[in-house]
């Protein structure tokens, strides 16, 4: 045991230390620091994105009344969007990933965002993350968007890659040119698109 152990014999202190070490070893036997860090990175990315997209956490900081009003408005908008999507006769049951790229390429917000914008100019923070994290983040966005929908679940991996390709500036038919794309610039685009609701709108157009 670390430190002094008054009133404990040296033998008892040593045995107690052994017991504690054994307890720690048992607890650590299945702990993998690498896996822990990977999971943490994903949670942090998702946490940041959810703070951009959903007002839930921000509502904690405003008054209860304001929160209720905001929640009512959000619910109203969701109901209207759901109704519009439901009555749209052109709504398909399957989603073509290439269609997402075309929709995003023609998206007003997407087109107006230059890739070379300086870090920190948008949303007050830069998003340093890997290509893998970006793809995962888009999947998280799609999951959130789909959660309220009753449509068939599309291939989220395919959709994420198609969106990523479009965000990277690739033609709709091409695959994403990852090595030539600045992850920071991509992350800024995702943040802007998320904040302005362009993802949700693009998904709505798609269906």
């Amino acid at each position: 045991m670390s430190g002094n152990n008054d009133h404990l014999s040296a033998e008892s202190a040593r045995e107690l230390q052994e017991i504690i070490e054994c307890d720690k070893s048992a607890a650590m036997s299945e702990f993998d620091a690498t896996v822990f860090e990977q999971q943490l990175r994903r949670r942090i990315t998702a946490d940041r994105l959810s703070r951009h997209i959903l007002p839930g956490r921000r509502l904690q900081h405003v008054s209860r009344a304001s929160g209720l009003v905001a929640a009512a408005i959000v619910v109203g908008v969701i109901v209207v969007v759901a109704l519009v999507v439901r009555v749209d006769p052109s709504r398909g049951r399957r989603t073509d990933p290439k269609l997402i790229a075309r929709v995003l390429a023609g998206c007003e917000f997407f087109g107006s965002i230059p890739l070379d914008r300086q870090p920190g100019s948008v949303a007050g923070e830069s998003h340093r993350t890997s290509a893998h994290d970006l793809e995962w983040s888009i999947q998280a966005l799609l999951y959130r968007a789909r959660r309220s929908s009753d449509g068939d679940a599309p291939d989220k991996g395919g959709l994420a890659r198609a969106i990523l390709a479009a965000l990277a500036g690739a033609p709709p038919e091409a695959s994403a040119p990852w090595p030539r794309v600045d992850p920071d610039a991509l992350a800024r685009r995702i943040a802007i698109l998320s904040k302005k609701g362009a993802f949700l709108r693009a998904l709505g157009n798609m269906q």
């Binding site: 070893s25 607890a27 860090e37 943490l40």
Partner: protein
Amino acid sequence: MPQSLDKLLGHSRTVFLVCFGLTRNRADAEDLAQETYLRACRQLDRIPGGEASKAWLFRVARNVCLDHLRRRRLGIFSYGKLADQALAASDPHEDLVRRERNAAIARALGRLPRRLREVLVLREYGELSYEQIAQALRIELGTVMSRLHRARRKLAEAVVKSGELR
């Protein structure tokens, strides 16, 4: 991931162990350790520089665990089963002895008052210095030493009663 957080990730094992020491549940401990870093990430501007950052991180971990225990209205530890399979000894007798010892330490820790328990866990599982414990818990250095002394004595008494210590 921000650089300051990257640095704190070097303590992930001990943060996990502190969460385990306070909750006695490995699955909960891993989740709470993640929650600790997530909270730290949301307060990047409040992370102190230098050595103080470690004490700050463990203060967050301790608060996360206390919140968790409060939410579950435990007040005391839940003695979650230790998944000992990974450490299973080849000798069944040795395996049994180890399991009994782990259970004894879990019970003994669970009987310690919260204030003594958190000091002991930060010292033994978190491997914090007395000064860091004082910073993490915002108490005097002398208080840390006296609580630690009492915690060790009570822990030893409890383990002796269980028959695991002579």
